[in-house]
Amino acid sequence: MSIRITIAQVRIDQSPAVLKAYGLGSCVAVALYDPEARIGGLGHLLLPNRPERNALGSESKYVDAGILEIVDKLVQAGAIKDRLVAKVAGGANMFETSYQTLITSIGARNARSARATLASLGIPILGEEVGGNRGRTVEFDLATGNMMVYCAHDDVQVST
């Protein structure tokens, strides 16, 4: 059973579901997994940090708030926080450019925010496939905790 996670969405499920996020550019996909309970969650997140004031719209578009949301949902569903492990993909810079603007470096900032948020929660990152200038599609298999990353151009398959 495969479930599609759209932009600014987080979702948790249990084995044997497969969570998929298609066409990540500077967005990041953060996968969290409890290997013993075999439940996990995936977020397709697009902005690095939730502003302290005047946050507009959904919480789950922010990397930091989205990760907290997945952790909360997993704990409610019976996961143990200390067992959680993470995998991160995405955070590319799609438009090659010789000058760095705020927007072109947003992928790197998303990846940094994911690492910082996970570190502050004490959740180890087991695998990463971030940066560069290529789009990615990820498949997170909740039966095994494996995350496959597919790229459009060179058919790179990275298993993390």
């Binding site: 990540l24 967005c27 959904s58 947003i106």
Partner: protein, 206 residues
């Protein structure tokens, strides 16, 4: 003003602004490739950011995206998207017969960026004349990848102001023959402040 709150008069205003701008852009493209270019009436839609890749035919569809920032009296960005078959046909018109399939070389990237530049400049000068504003396109940037990955760049920009995106969509129908037609999508993505400027200048404000 969040896009969601636009009324139908304001949407019509934006549609008309885009119609005029796209008319100029189509003329420029037609002169450049030496072929007739028809364009269909732009579709102005307000949609959830998460649904934008669906409107483009799926997040994994391969697309060439060319993006430019709008500088000058108003801010925002422009995104031009060509499905890979259309980008290939466009290159054949510009550079002569090409290898089968779309191959991104230095020359083809440069040619496609130039198309983006011409279209965006024509569009912005028409828009600028109408609004009596100076609108300048930045240097074009290009990406050839999955649609979702190409557009999330602009969605990030928009998402800082809310969960909705405004898409001004235009199809360049080249020839009646489907196998030869060049299709593209044109997105005008004004930032919310700029949107107010556009609307108040053409009398569409609330």
């Amino acid at each position: 003003m969040p896009f969601r709150e636009l009324n139908s008069v304001q949407l019509d205003t934006l549609k008309e602004i885009s119609n005029i701008g796209m008319g100029h852009a189509a003329t420029a493209l037609s002169q450049m490739i030496g072929r007739r270019v028809n364009l269909t009436v732009p579709n102005v839609t307000i949609t959830e950011i998460s649904k934008v890749p669906e409107h483009l035919g799926g997040a994994e569809k391969m697309m060439v995206g060319i993006t430019l920032q709008i500088l000058g009296d108003a801010r925002g960005s422009i995104m031009l998207l060509f499905p890979q078959e259309s980008a290939h046909r466009l290159l054949c018109s510009l550079l002569g017969p090409q290898e089968k399939g779309l191959v991104m070389t230095e020359v083809s990237v440069s040619a496609l960026k130039e198309v983006g530049n011409i279209l965006a400049s024509a569009y912005l000068s028409a828009l600028g004349n109408l609004l009596n504003k100076t609108l300048i396109p930045s240097v074009p940037l290009l990406a050839y990848d999955m649609a979702g990955a190409v557009v999330d760049h602009v969605l990030i920009d928009l998402s800082q102001a809310g969960d909705f995106a405004m898409m001004v969509e235009t199809d360049f129908g080249g020839e009646p023959d489907q196998d030869l037609s060049i299709k593209g999508h044109f997105f005008l993505l004004p930032d919310p402040v700029t949107l107010n400027v556009f609307l108040s200048d053409v009398g569409g404000s609330v």
